[in-house]
Amino acid sequence: MSHAASHAGHGQRRGHADDHNDHDHVIRIDPASVEAPAAWGGTLSTLLIFLGFAGLVVTVFGGYAAAGEHFEGVIHATGSWLVGALFCITLSLGALGLTMIFHQFNAGWSVTARRQLENMASLFPVCLAIFAPVLLVELFITKGGLYHWMHRFLVEAEPGAHVDTLLVKKENFLNIPFFLIRAAAYFGVWIYLGRRMFTLSRTQDSTGDRGLTVKARFTSAWGLLAFALTTAFAGFDWAMSTDPHFYSTMWGVYFFAGSILSATAMLVLILSLLRAKGKLIGLVTDEHFHDLGKLLLSFTVFWAYISFSQYFLIWYSNIPEETSWYIHRRQHGWQNLGFVLCVGHFVVPFLFLLFRGTKKSILAMIVVSLWILTMHVGDLFYIIRPEVYDAKMGLDLWWIDLGGVLGPILLYAGALLRKAASGPLIPLKDPRLAEALAHKNYI
């Protein structure tokens, strides 16, 4: 057995599942195996952050270069940036949710994978920094380019002017001060929860205090409730209200489904890269990958289930406010993106992940997780982009989209690598570590 991890005293026992009748053994872990590759904290993350900034510069430049009479170019640029920012937010959100779910389930097998989720969940301040410019531009420059309900002329009746009755009704909810208060509240909750999960786990690395796991479990109990509400409302505020007439009770779940799927894909991607670099040997094994693959498969199906149900019920009932959202997306070429999402976001990963072999292969998992992350970008693009500006604009300014979407993502990726490199790759003294090391699927 070439395991980097071994039990002191009777090292040869390692590798046999179910064999931890005594809990007093010390687990010896090879320090090199739980340290991120040197480049992650240094050159690689700097490069990613640099490229991210470059992408954003391109976006800003493009926005101003193409800015028309009514700031069309700026709206285009902020819309793309919003897609990138939402991508980062949903990654952190999914990671936060998954961490808390693992704690609530008292999951043992996933302990060695959990640190990477905690890293993602602790990045909400970065998400805020990425997201804030979108809001600022929207508030001070485009003033309703992304969120049409911000246009005062739609709700304030001047004599003889056209007023949007629905928006007048919605003004109690969709108004700028309340919108900002809510955004602050969401980020407040997320930053607190993300930090807490991260700190509890990191503190345990040095103290080994089991009480911290109990605390994490308790926090996740009420945390999940707060998480559910904030996630749903963030979805309503930032994504659904780009079409202020549209409403769907499922939206919060839809937003969550995309989040948890992409966070799992990101987790798998990071773990695969680490394993490919020769890290985490014996700590995250094929067995863990098998289970992570199953999670990926079930979240893929869950996303398909939720998004199909939402589409299907709206398609079937044909109520104007709702159907218009999908009608818009079945025209002007957006139907192609819809088709790509049906096939790419569901059918391809579903069939791919059905096989046991792919779930246990590092290369296959890198491919499928990158694929799913790309499709998640497509999903957010499908939500935001057809709303933000005239659909006829097409893809002729594709480089703005590319910069706007990739910029935030690369920034986030750089920050994530730094975070991963700033501490051990697994929770070193988690009380369930032995269980995770011995994890094996028998059937």
């Binding site: 199909f308 589409y311 299907f312 398609w315 079937y316 044909n318 046991r356 094996k440 028998y442 059937i443």
Partner: protein, 189 residues
């Protein structure tokens, strides 16, 4: 399974020998005995336990079951049939206008397509499980042994069959004995 040997062994009373069975006290002994029987090169043998012992398939060197593939093929066939049935009935044989939507709309066909896929898979799994295991089976030579009936309670038994090319009544018995097997008995066909 590997090839059979043509040799036929008979007991003193003239009955054909099915194999030799030995009892093991704990899952651990049972597991190690299985590993050793596998390493000794036996192929026509089986082990019996009241519950699936973790990892016994590896200890016995069993091949990966092909059931999942069969289930997947039949499941997708069922789903396809479900879709085709609806397409044919509502768009071909007697096209029916409902809500003014297209005859060929795929959306309302999803529920039944899905359900039929699941239904076919479930039957494929159960019937496939029986077929791969060559069940149902009315009788088996081992069932004659009173000791064997205790497997369903708490006994662990390994039985090496006489058709194994390496089978040898006394040698096999000695091997099972050396592995800690007790109450070794000849099983008659």
């Amino acid at each position: 399974m590997a090839r059979k040997s043509k040799k036929i062994y008979k007991t003193e009373s003239g009955a054909v020998v099915h194999g030799v069975m030995a009892e093991f006290a704990t899952p651990a002994d049972f597991y190690h005995a299985a590993e050793n029987v596998r390493d000794a090169g036996y192929t026509r043998w089986d082990s019996f336990s009241p519950f699936p012992v973790h990892g016994i398939d590896e200890a016995m060197g069993l091949p990966t079951p092909r059931l999942p593939l069969v289930a997947a093929v039949i499941g997708f066939t069922g789903a396809g049939l479900g879709y085709w049935m609806q397409q044919w009935m509502t768009a071909v044989d007697y096209p029916l206008v409902v809500q003014g939507k297209s005859y060929d709309a795929w959306e309302p066909r999803v529920p039944i397509t899905f359900e039929l896929g699941i239904l076919f898979t479930a039957f494929a799994v159960l019937i496939g499980m029986f077929a791969f295991n060559k069940l149902p089976r009315h009788h088996h030579p081992l069932m004659k042994k009173e000791r064997f009936l205790r497997v369903s309670d708490d006994r662990f038994i390994i039985c090496v069959e006489a058709v194994d090319p390496r089978f040898d009544p006394s040698g096999t018995r000695r091997m099972l004995e050396s592995l800690g097997g007790t109450n070794i008995e000849i099983v008659e066909e």
